[in-house]
Symmetry: C2
Subunit: 512 residues, 2 copies
Amino acid sequence: MKLKVKEINFETGNAKDIVLNINDAQELGQKAGERVFVKNMKSKSLEEKYWVAIIQIDYLGTIVEPGEIGVFRNMLREKKELKNETIVSVKSADPPDSFKFIQKKIKGLKLSSEEINGIISDAVSGSLSRIDLAAFITAVSINGMDNEEMTALTLSETRSGEIFYFGMDVYDKHSTGGVPGNKVSLIIVPIVAAVGLTIPKSSTRAITSPSGTADSMEVLAPVAFTPEELNKIVAEQNACIIWGGALETAPADNILIEIERPLHMDPIGLMIPSILTKKLSLGVKKLVLDIPVGEGTKFATPIKGKQFAYLFKEIAANVGIEAECALTLAHQPIGHAVGPALEAKEALTLLRDYSVGPNSLIEKSTDLAGMLLEMSGKAQKGMGQSMAKDILHSGKAYEKMKKIIGAQGGDPNITPEEIKLGPHVKEFSSPKEGYIVEVNNSIINQIAKTAGCPSSKTSGVEIIKKQGAKIKEGEIVFKIYSHSESKLRKAEKVYNATGGPIRLGGMVIERI
Amino acid sequence: MKLKVKEINFETGNAKDIVLNINDAQELGQKAGERVFVKNMKSKSLEEKYWVAIIQIDYLGTIVEPGEIGVFRNMLREKKELKNETIVSVKSADPPDSFKFIQKKIKGLKLSSEEINGIISDAVSGSLSRIDLAAFITAVSINGMDNEEMTALTLSETRSGEIFYFGMDVYDKHSTGGVPGNKVSLIIVPIVAAVGLTIPKSSTRAITSPSGTADSMEVLAPVAFTPEELNKIVAEQNACIIWGGALETAPADNILIEIERPLHMDPIGLMIPSILTKKLSLGVKKLVLDIPVGEGTKFATPIKGKQFAYLFKEIAANVGIEAECALTLAHQPIGHAVGPALEAKEALTLLRDYSVGPNSLIEKSTDLAGMLLEMSGKAQKGMGQSMAKDILHSGKAYEKMKKIIGAQGGDPNITPEEIKLGPHVKEFSSPKEGYIVEVNNSIINQIAKTAGCPSSKTSGVEIIKKQGAKIKEGEIVFKIYSHSESKLRKAEKVYNATGGPIRLGGMVIERI
C-alpha cells in the first residue's frame, strides 16, 4: 500500500509509532498496537530498507485521511527524508521474534541470553511497544529471573549504549536507597580519590526522595557532561560526581525504568541488572553496595537485605565486578540535613572540619570508604575505616573535593556559608521535655517534598536533634526551608497534621 | 500551578493523557505516566471539579513550553470549554486506588468485587493508563481469576455500558472460534426466530480470521445500528444479526480487548467475562456456546474444552444465564466457503434449498439450534435437532431470514446468485488421484486473508472437496476469489509455497 506522509506535531513515547486511518489499517488487516513495515520509496540512500512501525489508529479521520500516514516528530528527526507528501510503501508485519520471548517469560519459562538480547535490542529500536514492555516487566515481577538471565540482561543492557574505559582498576559505591539525607557519596568519593583510586561516580537525580546525589552535587558544580567532557574530568582528577542521565550509557535500562516507574515496579530481576549496567558502562571493577534495611527501604528486614546481598555479589561476579555489600541502618536520616543545598552544605562542612561532625555521616561514610580502601589493597583488612577517617581528618579529602568541584566547572573555593538556603524558614520547638524515641523518615520526606525538594535546590529540612537525644521544653528540634512562602505554609501544614517527624518519649522511656 | 492550554492536533490512546514541559513536570514532582489533577479555573459550570490526567512529557520543549499544558483532541471534544490559552490549575495526584488493586493481582492475591469495580471504572474513565492495564492483563494471564472474580468482572463490565431488555426469555448462540467458514449463526438465528423465540444476535467482525458473522451478514444487510434502531428491529422480528461494535455496550470490555489484542493474550479469566458481558448487555437468559476443539482453536484437546465448558456454565449461572456448551469438531472448515460474500452465499443457498447442503453446515447448525429449542421447551429433550431440521427444510427459516434482512435495511429478496464474488478467480486442480486426508485450516486462513479477507467482502476461498472425498487427477479441488489481481497473485503464491490446504493420501490410506 502506498501512503502519503503527514507530519504530526507531537512526540510519542515510542519512536516507532505511526498513525493510520482506520480504513487503511483494515485494508492492511492490522489493528492498533500491531505493526507495519514502512519504506521511503524515493530515498536517496542506497541503504534504505523497510523499517518496523507500530500502529496507532485514527478512527475518525480527523488526523489522517485514507491514503495518509501520520509521522511524529521523533521519527521525522530520525528519518530526515520524510516530509509532508513523501510517498512511502507500507505492508503488514508480524511482531518481532522478541515478542515471543516475552510470551515465554509470561508462561514462566527461562530466557536464553539470545532471547534477552532480542528483547533489549527491540526495546531500544522501538520494535516492541510500551505495552509489550509493560507485559514483560509485569511477567518478570511475577515469575522472576534466575542468575543466568540477570547476568545476560546486565550484559545486554550495557551493550545497548556507550561504554567508558578509565583503566584497569575502577572503584565505585552505590546505594539501593530509602534513607533521607544519605549524602555519603559526597564524602566517600573525595576520600577514595585522595589516595589515587579512580572513582567515576555517576548518580541519579531524586526519583521519589527529596534529593539525589546528583541534585546535591549540582549545588556545588555542574553535573551534566558529554562523554568527552567526562573523559577529561576523570583523566584529570581520577574522580567525578556527575548525573548519569546526561551520558548515553545503557538506553535500554532507561527505557525499562520509564515504564517501571509509573507501574511502581522494581523487581529484583530488573533492579540488579539496572545497578550493574550503570557500573559496567563506566568500567567499574570494584564496588561497595550500601543496602539500607528497614521500613521505607527496599528491604523490610535484615534477612531480606542479606539474601539480596548474596545474590547481587554473585551476578556482579558473573559480569566481572567484585562487589562488597554493607547492610546499613535506615531508621532515621544520615546527618541532620535533607534537601539538595542543605545536604551539600552539611557534606562540605564536614569535609572542611572533621570535628563538627555529624557522627552518623562520619561513621557511615568512612565505613563504606574503608571497604573500598581495603578492596584496593591501600588499607589492610580491618584498617580501612581508620584510614578513611585519617584522610577525612587530614583535610586531604577536602582538598580533593575542591579539585573535583573545579574540574566540573564549579567554584573550588565555595564555602559552606556561601550555599544559599530557603530564604523562607520556619522553626519548630518542642512543647515538652523528653527523649527522642522516633525520627520518622516518611514524614521528613513528605515535608521536604512539600517545601519544594528536589526541584527547588534551596528547600529542605533540618533535623536538629535525633533519636536518643534529651531535649528541653521550648528547644528547637526541626526547621523547614523553602524557596516559596506558600510552599513553606503547605509544608507547615503537613508538620502540624502529622505531628511532625520527631516523637518524644516521657519518663517511661527514660527509665528503661 | 497555573498552566495555559495548548491544543494538540492528535488523539491519544487514553483520553486522559496531557502533555507537560519537563520543567513543569519536575516542579510538580511528577514523571511520565504519573498523574495530575486539572481544573478549568474559568469554567462556567458550577459542577467543574478537578479531573485526573496522565502525564506525557515533552523533554525538548518543542510541543509545549514551560507554562503550557498540551491537550489532545479527544479531551478537547469532552471538555468543550478548553481552548488555546485557557488557564487551568494543575496539581500532582497519586495513582487511583484501583492502581493498588492491580498490584494486588500482580502479587497473586484475590480481588474483591469492589476492587474489580474500581479497576473497571478507572479503565473506562481513563484514570488507569494503557500501561497499567497491560500490567493487569499480564497479571491475570499469569495468576488467573477465580469464579468469584470472573463473576464480579462480568457484572462490572456489563454495568459500564448500555443494557438492553428484550423480554424475559432471550436466547443466544456464541462460538469461542477457530474454525474457518463457521457461518452457522446465519442458519441458527432464523431457525430459532422462526418459532417465535427472541434471539438478538450480536457478533464481532473478523479479528484474526477471514470473516466474522458480522462481516458475512453485512453482505446481505447493514449491521451497524443505534440502540433505538436495534430495539425497533428486535421488537419487529424478535431477532437480528448485527455488529456488536456499533452499540454502546460494555466499553470496559472493548478497552481491555484493545490491549489484549496486540499482546496476543486472551486469558480465560478475561475471556469468560468478555463473552458473558456481551450477552448480559443484550439481556440474554439462555445461551448455547459452541466450543471448537483441536489445532488452531483456543482448546487444543477435548479435555481442555470440557474443563472450560464446566467453568463457563458455572460463571454464566452466577450472572443469571443458563448456558449449554457443545464441543465441536474443528479439523476442517464448516461447509465449503470461506470469506464474507462466499459464506453469505453458502448460507443463503442452504436456507433456500435444504437439499443442496452442505451436510457439515446442516448438521452443526441444526445441532446447536436444536439445543436452544430444547432449552426453550419448544422441543422435547432429544428432539431439538430434528425439529430444527424440519424448520430449515420447510422454508420457514428462509422466510424468517428474509424478514430479518429486510428489517435491517437489506433487500429481502436478494438471491444467492446476486451476491458478488471476486471478480478475479483462480482454480486449482489435483495433480493426481487419491483421497483427501487433510484440509489445513491455517493455510486456508492465510490464503483467504492474502486474497483480501475480511476487508474485501468479495474475496475468499472455496474448498470444493473435503476430508474423505475421493478425487481424480485434474479435478478442481480449490478456488481463490479476490477483488484485486495483484492480491490474487499473492494468494496463489501462498498456495504454491505451502502446497495448498488439501492433502491427498494414496493407496495406503485407502486400504485402512
